[in-house]
């Protein structure tokens, strides 16, 4: 547990990072640095997005798989690293 915490701290300490969420394969948040309502919202929405993206990539080429997803918006950037069992989501504000 400590190692995971340490990794999270290292990510959090980077400049501009607004929040980190770890969700399991079903989309239920395990750990988060944001408040509960935002966490639940992010988890629900991004879980679906990652599923969709992953299926798209695999449909195009079954040998391929999704390794990293970055969604850039006007205000911030959401980065998601998918895995078999977990997803790690980081929200960063790149402009300040």
């Amino acid at each position: 547990m400590a190692e995971v915490e340490e990794t999270l701290k290292r990510i959090q300490s980077q400049k501009g990072v607004q929040g980190i969420i770890i969700i399991n394969a079903e989309g239920i948040p395990i750990k988060s640095t944001l408040d509960n309502s935002s966490t639940v919202q992010y988890a629900g929405l991004l879980h679906q997005l990652v599923m969709k993206t992953r299926s798209t990539v695999r449909d195009l080429d079954p040998q391929n798989d999704l390794t990293f997803l970055r969604v850039r918006s006007k205000k911030n950037e959401i980065m998601i690293a998918p895995d078999k069992d977990y997803f790690l989501i980081v929200i960063q504000n790149p402009s300040d």
Binding site: V4, I11, Q14, I30, D85, V90, S95
Partner: protein, 862 residues
């Protein structure tokens, strides 16, 4: 009529005689007429066999061969033998040649019991026929009629069926036209001798005699009067029309709700997950990816459009002409505003293009007293101007005295509260419906005049001219002790005023609680209510007239000149404003206990004074222990910054805690949390600054109006030591400025001057475009704040240092006796040092092998 497939019994003889050439009837045993012989096939020869022959060949009729077994095979040799034996007598004689030619050994003899072919026996002449007849013996019976019918079928395509007469031939006979007798022939001719003779024709009138002509006159035939009782008509048997209906289930949209809750893990499960090996590995592997991505973002923002950003900076360097404030319109009324000064401008909050100004006389106090009669004749006014009509004002509001400041009620723009020169606070109420007909339908030479509704009571009001009037926002209201409480009506009901009599007063436009009034006052009120309204003043605020008392009086130690809006720091959820006209008379000031106090509204406000001070204090009334009365608290901060009276205290529309104050010969920008001093203080300018206002679209920009009629545009991010643009508007001093945004393309600045003219200037694109973002202006302010802090700190440190150096000097003074001794000592000491140095030098030189004394020796020796 002749149908080949049927036979008519009555015509049978004729037809059959015709048909017999073409059609071969099938021999029917039921038919008695057997005159017709059927045609015999070629390979069958009917013959008669005598009894002797029958016995000989053992084919006796009805004994050896029967109906059921009609076949008998005869040997060819036997037949030949018989023929030889009996020669011509033999029955087989006619077929002698055929028998001789017969290929096979046996011939078939068939017993024709029915005399089908005319004889009792027939001999089959060919092998094929024999085979055909014999094989199969069962089907031979069927074959024969079929063969025959086949032959007949090809000639008669359809099987003939007997016709059954139903009596229709009788009708046909009736209908058919037949000659009943022979047709008679007549031949009529003239007498032969008259052929070719000359003819004499004469005329004769046909009407002369009745025999001359024959006519058929029309007459009413009685037959036609008969009603046809019977008529042939055709009918068609059709099913009755049946109507049927179905009921479909009409689906209509219906609201459906689902309530759901997100799934969450319990703490235990989260702990389990966090300590799992799986997650650890994942986190460490994922981390590398994130590192790259995050750092990438930080190094460079790939989506930032440099080209766009570049263009914004470029335009800011545009020519001077671009930043010119163009005059859009100017309003003066020759009758009402000439030679007068405009004291206050306010844009109408809801109707665009309408602006209200208050005109005042440019007279000092003495002149007023001397010319008071003249003043009474010309009542002071608030004029309403509209963009649609630059010459005539739209509306005039009469006031009891010169109005120095007024304000529209934000929740109901028909109510205006003004503060007068004599210290009274007046309220006027406009009929909005009456006003809206004006843009357009304007009756010449008649500007509508409205009188004020109510004034405050003279004893309880201000004792000096009211210099500023502001409405409190509708979210909260103030109770009697000054605690902000919830406003249940959600409309603006309270007003703040200030005057140089050291008072800031809070007024409520609702009727005070009846319990507070004594009997006498109530009676007076009733009488007042029964008074007529001579000039059609609306009764809305009649209850306040002349009895209006302020809710709270906040006493300041200094004369107050202007005050400032209070921004609520928490947005209360806005309930629906009551639609329609609000009956202010029915509203009552609620008792304090009923209302919920709002915690997060700041009760601090800023006031500028006549001496150039800025006072920052709270309006809450505290209890004075000695007298038990409610007294206002002492101001928290006081700063003297300006040299003369402060005429403007304004909050920035972009930042809640930045305040601009203008007074005397300079202006200052303050930050509310930093109470050490102004964060920006302008240098003293040569002319007095009369008024200032923030730009509504550009953070960091504001306008200053000067005594010589100049308007200065200051942009804090461009230049802080001088204005970025100066423009002269009029020759008289500027008295008031107010910006307004009508649309995104039209930003206006209303400027009034001492001549009574109202100028509307259009702010050009360069000035209204936010060239600086809020964050950059914020950063600038923060920088200034840090500078201020630094200065203060430095002052402190310098002060400390100063005291420290002074202390040291003090110390040194006390030690004056000691230094004399020390000086002697030091000389001895230095001598001693010199001696030791010399010895050291000698030693070193000795060690090096070079010494002055030794050198001397060799020189001596030489």
């Amino acid at each position: 009529m002749i149908c080949p497939s049927t036979k008519y019994s009555s015509y049978s003889t004729n037809i059959t005689s015709v048909l017999s050439a073409f059609i071969q009837e099938r021999p029917d045993p039921s038919l008695s007429h057997t005159d017709v012989l059927p045609d015999v096939p070629e390979d069958i020869f009917p013959m008669v066999l005598t009894s002797a022959t029958q016995e000989l060949f053992e084919c006796r009729a009805d004994e050896d061969v029967t109906q059921n077994n009609p076949y008998k095979l005869l040997k060819k040799d036997d037949i030949l033998h018989d023929m030889k034996a009996r020669a011509a007598v033999s029955d087989f004689h006619p077929v002698k040649q055929t028998v001789l030619n017969y290929p096979g050994e046996e011939l078939l003899l068939v017993f024709d019991r029915d005399f089908k072919y005319g004889q009792s026996f027939y001999l089959v002449l060919t092998e094929e026929a024999k085979q055909r007849i014999l094989q199969p013996p069962v089907s031979t019976d069927e074959e024969e009629p079929e063969e025959e019918s086949e032959q007949y079928v090809c000639r008669t395509p359809e099987p003939q069926q007997p016709w059954v007469s139903l009596g229709s031939e009788l009708e046909i006979e009736e209908e058919s036209v037949k000659d009943t007798r022979e047709r008679l022939k007549y031949l009529v001719s003239r007498v032969r001798k008259k052929f070719g003779a000359p003819v004499n024709f004469t005329d004769r009138n046909a009407l002369e005699s009745k025999e001359g002509y024959i006519e058929c006159t029309s007459y009413q035939d009685r037959n036609f009067r008969l009603i046809q009782m019977e008529r042939n008509s055709a009918t068609q048997a059709v099913l009755n029309l049946k109507s049927s209906a179905t009921q479909t289930q009409r689906t209509f949209p219906r609201n459906m709700y689902t309530q759901y809750k997100p799934r969450e893990l319990t703490e235990e499960e989260k702990e389990n997950y966090m300590s799992s090996e799986n997650l650890k590995n994942f986190a460490s592997s994922a981390f590398s990816r994130f590192e790259i991505a995050i750092q990438q973002n930080k190094i460079m923002d790939v989506f930032f459009d440099d080209w766009q950003a570049l263009s914004e900076g470029d335009i800011a360097f545009g020519g001077k002409a671009d930043t010119y404030l163009k005059e859009y319109q100017s309003f003066t009324d020759l009758q009402f505003s000439k030679d007068k000064s405009i004291s206050c401008i306010k844009w109408h909050p809801t109707i665009s293009g309408v602006i209200a100004v208050s005109v005042t006389e440019k007279m000092s106090f003495e002149e007023r007293i001397n010319g008071s009669t003249k003043l009474l004749l010309n009542p002071p006014l608030i004029l309403f101007w509209s963009f649609s009509d630059p010459i005539n004002p739209q509306l005039r509001l009469e006031c009891p005295d010169d109005v120095l400041s007024f304000d529209f009620c934000p929740s109901d723009p028909n109510i205006i509260i003004g503060g007068c020169m004599n210290g009274q606070v007046e309220s006027s109420f406009r009929y909005s419906s009456a006003y809206q007909t004006y843009p357009g339908s304007f009756v010449k030479n008649e500007i509508p005049v409205l009188l004020y509704c109510a004034v405050s009571s003279i004893e309880n009001g201000h004792k000096a001219p009211v210099t500023d009037v502001q409405w409190l926002p509708e979210n909260f209201e103030i109770s009697i002790t000054g605690v902000p409480v919830e406003n249940q009506n959600q409309i603006c009901v309270q007003v703040v005023t200030c005057a140089p009599d050291c008072c800031v007063m809070f007024w409520d436009i609702r009727a005070p609680r009846p319990a507070a009034h004594s009997q006498a006052e109530r009676k007076q009120k009733m009488e007042e209510k029964q008074l007529e309204n001579p000039r059609g003043i609306p009764n809305t605020f009649k209850y306040l007239d002349l009895s209006w008392k302020p809710l709270i009086k906040v006493y300041e130690s200094v004369a107050v000149f202007v005050n400032e809006t209070y921004k609520q720091y928490k947005s209360v959820k806005t309930t629906d404003r009551p639609e329609g006209k609000v009956e202010y008379a029915l509203l009552r000031v609620p008792s304090e206990k009923q209302l919920k106090p709002l915690e997060d509204i700041s009760t601090m406000f800023c006031v500028g004074t006549e001496d150039g001070e800025l006072v920052y204090t709270s309006w809450k009334l505290g209890k004075d222990d000695d007298s038990g009365r409610l007294l206002s608290g002492k101001p928290s901060r006081c700063f003297i910054v300006h040299d003369s009276l402060v005429n403007t205290v304004k909050r920035s529309p972009f930042f809640k805690d930045i305040i601009l104050t203008v007074g005397g010969w300079n202006f200052a920008v303050w930050k509310e949390s930093v109470m050490n001093g102004p964060i920006i203080l302008s240098p003293c300018s040569q002319k007095r600054c009369m008024v200032g206002c923030w730009s509504l679209s550009n953070p960091g920009m504001f306008f200053i109006g000067k005594e010589d009629g100049n308007i200065e545009v200051w942009d804090l991010l461009e230049k802080t030591h001088e204005p970025s643009h100066i423009q002269n508007i009029s020759t008289a001093s500027i008295t008031c400025m107010k910006p307004w945004i009508i649309s995104s393309k039209q930003h206006f600045l209303a400027v009034s001057d001492d001549f009574g003219t109202l100028h509307i200037l259009q702010i050009p694109w360069t000035l209204r475009n936010p060239s600086s973002s809020e964050s950059s202006v914020n950063k600038y302010f923060e920088k200034e704040v840090t500078r201020l802090m630094f200065f203060d700190k430095r002052k402190e440190t310098m002060a400390k240092q100063k005291t420290a150096t002074e202390a040291e000097e003090q110390k040194k003074k006390t030690e004056l006796l000691v230094p004399e001794k020390l000086s002697e000592k030091t000389e001895e000491e230095s001598l001693a040092e010199y001696e030791s140095y010399l010895t050291l030098e000698k030693d070193i030189l000795k060690e090096m092998g070079v010494s002055l004394q030794e050198e001397d020796k060799p020189s001596n020796e030489v």
